[in-house]
């Protein structure tokens, strides 16, 4: 018993990820935490997307289930679980059954290497980015087989579109990623790294986020990735595989109930996964903003207080809404519920002020805040951009993003090696 406790506590002093420390207990804890956190994030994303889209279109959005529709995702989940699960008579049963699981597995497995902080990752791999890109590209297999197994026209066309789209945009995405890998090798040993934690640490060592590196090269790479990742996750304005006006619901037309909800879960967790790649590669991962302009221990303290104040601010807004609830007795339960939710947020905010918690959790906060920014962008795109036509989509992928990516890669290499190249040239001129 004592040995077991010592085994559990020994990790806390090691300052490593559980995978690197080889600690099975903490690895399991981290896996569970990531799984639960991801599920909550998907549920919250569902509610936020409907609310934000509604407000963009001057509607109210869900208002009936719970105060301001807060319990709507739970009601939706219950409905989906209780719905009849239909498998079409002419469908290929086994493939139809397997396809959603491929998509979900691919979407969740990539979170093994996502670095929420220098020690807050399930594990760190030597091939981190490669692993994330590779495993997330497996989800297209699930989409293709889902469309084929349904044995119906709309899903088949949706699957064909999505496979063509995802394979095309993977190329541009890969080129943008390689330009960042080049930037990580700019140190004394000139050895780059593919590890997710290593990439953030090299941004820390170079005192620069890679989005600002070799301005505007880093920015262009980020832009290519930001476009390609929307296409990779089949979201608006690139949501042709599930274009409602043309294909009903695309590859998951024939799916219902729990199986459909697996596709939904996978889509949103894939969005979070590609956003966290973008955050890690270009936006400094878990690093706090303005490390150069506002250095010093005082600013460190100020920035470490921001997570707590953010939650207190959210709690304050909730209390304001509680005060503005209608005073009719029918709304009493909802008012109490909203107040309780505000109290919960305030409690989280107060816990985040405890020094021990504050130091260990602020990395996670900054990482999640940056990813949340991307999630908002996804909703914003959906609210503003019209859908691309398929030929336009292919034109953007192959004729704009791919040549730009190639030029970017060559330019980054030239700029990164400029001193060596100049030295070589001088040597060649003076034999």
């Amino acid at each position: 018993m004592h040995g077991a406790i010592q085994y559990i506590l020994s990790y806390l002093e090691s300052n490593q990820t559980p995978g690197a420390a080889g600690n099975v207990f903490w690895a399991t804890v981290y896996i569970l935490l990531v799984f639960v956190g991801l599920s909550i994030a998907v549920i919250a994303m569902n509610w936020l997307e409907r609310k934000i889209l509604a407000h963009m279109q001057v509607r109210l959005g869900p208002m009936r289930v719970g105060p301001h529709g807060l319990l709507q995702p739970i009601a939706d989940a219950l409905k989906l679980l209780l719905k009849e699960d239909i498998i079409p008579a002419e469908a290929d049963k086994i493939v139809f059954w397997v396809a959603p699981f491929i998509v979900v597995l691919a979407a969740f497995t990539v979170f093994v290497v996502v670095p929420f902080g220098p020690t807050h990752a399930i594990t760190d791999m030597n091939i981190g980015v490669l692993f994330m890109l590779g495993v997330s590209s497996l989800s297209v297999l699930g989409i293709v087989t889902a469309g084929w197994a349904s044995n119906s026209h709309y899903p088949l066309i949706g699957a064909l579109r999505s496979s063509a789209q995802m394979v095309s945009y993977e190329v541009a995405m890969g080129l943008a990623v390689v330009s960042v890998i080049l930037m990580t090798s700019l140190n004394e040993t000139s050895t780059g790294t593919l590890s997710m934690i290593g990439i953030v640490q090299s941004q820390l060592a170079q005192r620069e986020w890679f989005i600002f590196k070799f301005f505007p090269l880093g920015l262009i790479g980020f832009f290519i990735f930001a476009v390609a990742m929307v296409a990779e996750t089949n979201r608006a304005p690139f949501d042709l595989p599930e274009a409602e006006s043309e294909l009903t619901a695309g590859f998951h037309t024939e799916y219902s109930g729990f199986r459909w909800s697996l596709f939904f879960l996978a889509e949103y967790s894939a969005m979070i996964a590609v956003s966290s790649i973008a955050v890690t590669l270009w936006l400094g991962g878990w690093l706090r903003p303005f490390p150069n302009a506002l250095p010093g221990s005082t600013w460190e303290l100020v920035f470490s207080l921001i997570p707590g104040f953010t939650f207190l601010f959210l709690a304050g807004m909730t209390f304001y809404s509680t005060a503005r609830m209608p005073k009719h007795p029918l709304f009493r339960v909802q008012t109490i519920g909203l107040g309780g939710f505000g109290a919960l947020l305030a409690l989280v905010g107060l816990i985040l002020f405890i020094p021990g918690v504050r130091v260990r959790v602020q990395d996670i906060f900054w990482f999640s805040a940056k990813v949340a920014g991307f999630m908002y962008l996804y909703i914003w795109y959906r609210g503003t951009f019209p859908r691309y036509r398929f030929d336009q989509l292919m034109k953007v992928g192959w004729k704009v993003l791919l040549p730009t990516g190639l030029a970017l890669l060559i330019l980054t290499a030239l700029v990164a090696m400029r001193t060596e190249l100049l030295a070589d040239l001088r040597g060649a001129w003076r034999p």
């Binding site: 040995g3 077991a4 010592q6 085994y7 020994s10 420390a21 080889g22 290929d92 086994i94 493939v95 397997v98 791999m125 030597n126 091939i127 490669l130 692993f131 890109l133 590779g134 495993v135 590209s137 497996l138 297209v140 297999l141 293709v144 087989t145 469309g147 084929w148 197994a149 088949l156 699957a159 064909l160 496979s163 063509a164 995802m166 394979v167 993977e170 050895t191 780059g192 790294t193 593919l194």
Partner: protein, 184 residues
């Protein structure tokens, strides 16, 4: 459960995982050639390729494993499925599958298997051809080692072979374009 007795990184390359992955690969390979439905065959092939990637991981070569997943499972097999999906399954299931070279195939497979067994059991001076101890490489540097073998000015010996192989692929691509287009 004393931390002193727990090794820092227990090896993943245990015989159990090797036999598990090998069994998955063999079953997958058999399914690829026995399924009548081409999509089922393709999915069995994907399973085999993923198990193969896991075998590379067991050899402490994570970079090769990652490239295997990206290129084969994520790239080539998607294109395979893309083509297979458009085949009429009803017609292919009615047609008789035949293979006129099964006798030669069995002979070749048996010869290869026999060769493997012969190499594995040969002893010269009481030693097999395989090293006794288990070689453990630094897993954390695999990508960098591969890069050094390819591109380093001092140790890079495989650059030429690598470029020749990529030229071969380029020839195949050009050939496909020439065959597909009547006028270029």
């Amino acid at each position: 459960m004393n931390p002193a007795t727990v090794p820092a990184n227990p090896p993943v390359a245990t015989p159990f995982f090797f036999y598990l992955l090998a069994a998955i690969m063999i079953i997958g390979g058999i399914l690829v050639i026995t399924r009548r439905n081409a999509v089922h065959s393709a999915m069995a092939l994907i399973t085999t390729l993923l198990a193969q990637a896991a075998l590379y991981l067991m050899l402490y070569a994570p970079f090769v494993a990652g490239v295997q997943i990206i290129l084969y499972a994520g790239g080539i097999m998607v294109l395979f499925l893309f083509v297979i999906m458009l085949i009429s399954i009803e017609r292919t299931q009615k047609e008789r599958q035949f293979n006129k070279q099964w006798l030669v195939g069995i002979a070749a497979a048996a010869a290869l298997g026999g060769l493997f067994i012969a190499v594995y059991t040969t002893r010269t001076g009481g030693r097999t051809l395989f090293p006794e101890g288990r070689l453990t490489y630094l897993e954390g540097e695999n990508t960098q080692r591969v890069a050094a073998l390819l591109f380093d000015r001092a140790t890079g010996t495989y650059m030429f072979a690598f470029e020749i192989a990529s030229l071969l692929l380029l020839v195949a691509i050009i050939g496909a374009v020439v065959m597909a287009k009547k006028r270029i």
